[in-house]
Point group: C2
Chain length 373, copies 2
């Protein structure tokens, strides 16, 4: 098992700011907390006017990702407005295919596109090696900067896409409605698909380890398209590679694991399998009932989620009712990180995010009284 | 419980052709069959060149739906090519909102659109009543014609959209990516939403009963967007209305139920709830493991599904392997109707459908040997 040597361990280096709010990390390890910690997927994003302003300064989306000072700024923006219990690195899962020379570009309103697509085993072979310290130093630079600027206010989450999810973009050449090319590649050329996934898993391991060394205190793997697979294909082509990543993440020198969250959208049927990977926590989408999920796997992992993101378009009363319903479904005790069941959408009024975050803290206290007595 | 009076019961009228292949109906009632019956959602569709020819004759999609002779022709097309065990009425779930005067039209490549949208309780109140015999007689005319033309070769399936699924289109004004308006309406105006769903359920009941009287021998409710709801909202806003429909379908005069299949895409986590509705069978999407589903609810209902539709883009060998995997997962015994886990997509080569249908029949025989001894 790889380890962070003492001189690399920025997370415990004395010059790093002391963490003042460890609710999120404690909840991931199912330890007692006073209130349920909360953060939002895509919390640094287009629903915030101050984000849109920085974004327009940066020119385009990838220039924003590649500028550590601006990436740091937008990472911190939501924490200035809301009492969030974690920050998440502002970046994109497609930095890896971009570093693989696939020619990533964005078309406004159409999402990401790639100039190159993977359609054969030869295409897979030709993918160049990625050297994180050369090709993705803008990400680790952003991590170090954010850790400093956060001043210990909340832990910083790093992330990557799952190999399967990254592969779908590289094969389709962008987003897709039915993932026809990616599925056809999987069914017709499974060996080449495994070769591609293995290559991606290797880069994700290096990438997340570099983020950990640079200062992230937890990592999340976004398996956005795992739910499009059959149960058997999910195990073979997505979960197996997430497990490989988890097993190869570096640890603190005292042996403590860096907590790792895996989130398969549409993966609520496979929680038992996910819990066997060694992940610290499982992200739940909003279609998955959190109380039942806790009864299924709560003895093994923490759970993260899972308010329907559409609730944030509603009223204060409805937001509080729905937050209360998720808390009550999870019930008394530890191991819950509150979040949405998917990323926040651009049209949400920022004030509703404040109502949401405050409701989680206020309404959750009673579920932790026993634990903190 | 309403019943079909003897003089209305075309399904058992002596002048109706005798059914020569009852595998599908037997499997729905979990009775012994020699081979697993198979049909495909959207089997009459764009992947067939003969369909595209009739479609272009008709002018547009709705003209095709509204012309009983052409609807009959395209319904029968796939049965001429493949050894299918059921025919499904060619129509669209949006015939009901169309009959409600919502101004349905289709934009090539963009899917259905409505000129009117539902955004307030007043909009719901203003929806005009639908008289099936006046507004949707083109559907029942098509059913009678197809029943005659089928000459008993296979049973005919009728269908409707679930109230929730129909409501999403009426509120959004078409398809949607995130169903923001429909979700906002649900969370912010639940009483108006229930009013809309109740109105839709009433029309669906009349519509399916009219199809049964005209000759369909089974019905399916397509709950295409049920999987976008939370578990609690699914029960309250989708499942409850499907249950109401099921409880109000007419029966044969001898008390036999018309078999009813409900299919919630993304609903694999809620099979136990679905099995309590009184449905004869549950449709499974391809992400749901059929063997485990059978262990969960196979004592109560038949199961329909659930090959990943993308497999049809692959090779003969892969199609046969994947069909074999679904059959083996379901295992020995009765109560399985083979299908895709979602509608067939337009780019599938028709010859692969033939390979698929033949593989189901050939590879399934051994799972039924005990039952038919």
């Amino acid at each position: 098992m790889p380890q962070i040597s003492d001189d690399q361990t920025e997370v415990i280096k004395p010059e790093m700011p002391v963490l003042k709010n460890d609710r999120f990390l404690r909840a991931l390890f199912r330890q007692p907390v006073d209130k349920t910690p909360v953060w939002l997927m895509r919390q640094a994003g287009r629903y915030l006017p101050e984000y849109r302003e920085v974004r327009s300064q940066a020119g385009n989306f990838m220039s924003l990702c590649k500028n550590p000072a601006l990436a740091c700024e937008v990472t911190l923006q939501p924490l200035r407005r809301f009492e969030l219990d974690a920050a998440i690195l502002f970046s994109d899962i497609l930095t890896i295919p971009d570093a693989m020379g696939q020619g990533l570009y964005f078309v406004e309103g159409e999402g990401p596109k790639f100039r190159k697509v993977i359609r054969t085993g030869k295409d897979v072979e030709k993918i160049p090696d990625v050297d994180i310290s050369r090709d993705l130093s803008y990400v680790t630079d952003a991590v170090s900067l954010i850790r400093r600027e956060l001043e210990g206010r909340a832990p910083l989450i790093g992330f990557a896409g799952s190999p399967w999810t990254l592969a779908t973009y590289m094969i389709e050449g962008g987003s897709s409605k039915d993932f026809r090319e990616a599925k056809q590649f999987l069914y017709t050329h499974p060996t080449d698909m495994h070769h591609l996934l293995d290559k991606l898993a290797g880069v994700v391991i290096d990438y997340l380890n570099a983020q950990i060394v640079a200062g992230v205190q937890a990592v999340q793997i976004f398996d956005t398209w795992g739910g499009l697979l059959t149960s058997a294909a999910y195990e073979e082509f997505s979960l197996k590679y997430m497990e490989k990543i988890i097993k190869n993440l570096i640890r603190h020198s005292d042996g403590r694991a860096i907590p790792i969250i895996i989130f398969t959208k549409g993966g609520g049927q496979w929680l038992e399998l996910q819990a066997e990977t060694g992940a610290t926590a499982l992200g739940l989408d909003w279609s998955t009932e959190i109380g039942r999920s806790r009864r299924r796997v709560g003895g093994q992992v923490a759970l993260q989620g899972n308010l329907d993101p559409s609730v944030l378009y509603s009223t204060e009363a409805v937001i509080r009712t729905e937050v209360g319903a998720v808390l009550s479904s999870f019930g008394v005790g530890e191991g819950h990180v509150f979040n949405l069941g998917h990323g926040i959408t651009p049209g949400v009024p920022p004030e509703n995010v404040g109502i949401f975050v405050d409701a989680v803290h206020e309404l959750s206290a009673k579920y932790h009284e026993e634990s903190t007595k």
